[in-house]
Symmetry: C2
Subunit: 402 residues, 2 copies
């Protein structure tokens, strides 16, 4: 079902990172649902999390643990989100960290817990802790590909990518995996992403790079406007390559990290629940980037636009109506120009004289559709990536728990 | 398909108002698609319109005509929205008004044009003007019921209601009709509503009453967040009953008008495209009404909440996640309490100890579902009415033009 997306066949190991996937029997039958990631001592880990006020227990624990220590382990389960679980959920997340710390010989604060799956059910702590010895025994540098499958929930395709970049003639590797298919919206969604590199990079620089990269990648995607309680993006730098990324090597490194994050972010949209089309919405000529984002999001989230594109129907009136209701002060329609792919739809607020239904239909028939909107009121721009809204979106989300 | 909604069998005529429905052959086959409403001289007409920046040609013309004269005729077509039609669309709307003015012996400024249907196609002016003589000849005080069917587009049930109210022992009649089934959102949507009364009431008072009533009725409904280019709500007071509604009679009159508008607004949600559930979201304990609205709308528009309720799935985690991402500053989760019907879900941010899945399932099985959210941070409240999101929503909106 995913739009032009295939799982990778190989991934590059990252020196200093070992992974293990095991079947802890949390919810799914006959598949791995527990991922353990081990980081070499001295690794730097930075992260961004959901801004949802109701964030899940593991997110609270991660935030606290990241302030107090350098993570040695990440423990990720699929099938249960440990969200909306109150104090018991907090205890459950901490208990998993403590058990792993004991077995792995580190402090509990050096374990970051993550959960994804159904909200509002208590985490089966015993099933998880019972699986830890097997997970620790299986840790392997080559565990990435399996890891990308372990964290899947409603995903139909595993999402992962590796990139290498030269820094002063030496090679740095970046490998990342992600999951998420619905509840995807700017500022993190039901999305987990783990990106590791063997570069040697200072922690505050890594955090700054992550903030910049996320703004252009994960924060530009939306499937249904629902942000999740659990979203987390973690970037880990082990330094094991010995290649120091200082200010001069930074642009190349940041560009490679951006490519990895862009691939993963777009992969999530391509595998959006029920998606049959991958849609890019470029808004330009805005007064501010915030404004460009607001217009892009309004169009991207319009159920009428999304259902029309599902039907390959060039019903551009719906795009126009969505732009018109965007939360932008004093929007002057007579300055707005809109294209569907290469086809001009609206020119300075008027229907384009050159538009013909066949041209629009040819654009909407594609499985990758580009909408470009020029607001004609400034220099700022932003891109939003989304997918269409199909019968299967309803089916998947109406039946998810049954 | 509509949730607990039936078309009325009779409607009360309103002295001073005559209506005619005819088949102008605009788009649909073998049904009326053109409604003419005639108002007695001296009637007062007030209206509120869509706030969409891309508003349709007839909305522009209506706004201008309402400033310049007292309407004698309203001309409403279904099947074509005359939106996104540029200068030609403006000419088309004006041309219809001019032709009707000539036949009806009034000024063009005394005609209000309305259109609903597909966006972006030019209005077939000749078909409309050709049908005007027949419409004028058919004008009848008893044309309300037929009128409620003429303005339908994707509606499955005609929406109309009559109320009578005593003002100082004398009877005032209010009859209203409405259409709209998708693109329904606060501040007007693809919604047309016409409410007439024979009360004698001053125009500025009528406008103030309308503004207050719309805030508690039509502006509290949402189907898919898409506001339309054409939404219009018109209230006409002919004064033909001779019953003067001054300050003392106003509360009773306003209450009756509110009941009519509330019925029509909720009827639109009950007949929301593909709706199988009618959902009320009460937000209380908010710091401001704007904040209460923001939370209500976020929950009401969440595709994940809407699809879960379609499936009668008490997946309350999705309600919680939607509340958590509402655009409210410094939302304190530990103050929030949420009920589903009579069942307590979340108490002060924690899962309620009394909650059991059977209780939640019993609530979501109903075809009328109430969600109550107490933010615990103030005294303001607001209610939002919406419907669920079903396969049929996608079907209707993917196939609308084909």
């Amino acid at each position: 079902m995913a739009v032009n997306l295939q799982a990778p066949e190989t991934l590059l190991p990252v020196a200093g990172v070992r992974l293990a996937s095991v079947d802890a029997g949390i919810r799914y039958k006959n598949r791995n649902d527990l991922l353990l990631i081990e980081l070499e001592q001295g690794s730097h880990t930075v992260a961004v999390f959901t801004r949802n006020a109701f964030c899940a227990a593991p997110v609270h624990v991660c935030r606290s643990h990241l302030q107090n220590g350098s993570p040695r382990y990440l423990l990720v389960n699929s099938g249960n989100a440990n969200a909306g679980t109150g104090d018991l959920g907090m205890q459950a997340a901490r208990e998993c960290c403590e058990q792993l710390a004991e077995l792995g010989e580190c402090w509990a604060e050096q374990v970051l817990p993550f959960s994804t799956g159904v909200i509002g059910m208590q985490l089966p702590v015993e099933k998880i802790t019972a699986a830890l010895p097997e997970a620790l025994a299986k840790l392997d540098e080559n565990g990435w590909l399996e890891a990308s499958r372990t964290i899947m929930t409603t995903d139909t395709v595993a999402k992962a990518i590796s990139r290498q970049v030269e820094v002063f003639g030496e090679t740095v590797t970046i490998t990342g995996i992600a999951k998420g298919a619905g509840m995807i919206h700017p500022n993190m969604a039901t999305m987990l992403a783990y990106v590791a590199t063997d570069a040697l990079i200072e922690k505050d620089i890594l955090q700054r790079v992550l903030n910049e990269v996320v703004e252009e990648t994960f924060n530009c995607i939306t499937v249904d406007g629902d942000t999740s309680t659990n979203d987390s993006l973690v970037v880990m730098a082990t330094g094991s390559s010995g290649v120091y990324v200082g200010s001069e090597g930074l642009p190349a490194f940041q560009q490679a990290l951006r490519e990895v994050c862009l691939y993963l972010a777009q992969a999530i949209v391509r595998d959006g629940e029920g998606a049959t089309k991958f849609i890019s919405i470029d808004v330009q000529g805005a007064a501010t980037r915030v404004e460009a984002r607001a217009v892009g999001n309004t169009v991207a989230l319009s159920p009428l636009v999304k259902t029309a594109l599902f039907a390959s129907d060039p019903n551009w009136g719906r795009i126009l109506a969505a732009v018109g209701r965007s939360p932008v002060e004093a929007l002057d329609v007579s300055l707005i120009t809109i294209w569907l792919g290469e086809t001009l739809l609206i020119e300075k607020g008027e229907p384009a004289a050159t538009y013909r239904e066949e041209l629009g239909a040819a654009e909407t028939k594609r499985d990758e559709i580009a909408i470009r909107i020029d607001l004609g009121r400034g220099e700022a721009s932003a891109t939003t990536w989304t997918c269409d809204f199909s019968y299967d979106y309803v089916k998947i989300n109406a039946e998810y728990r049954s």
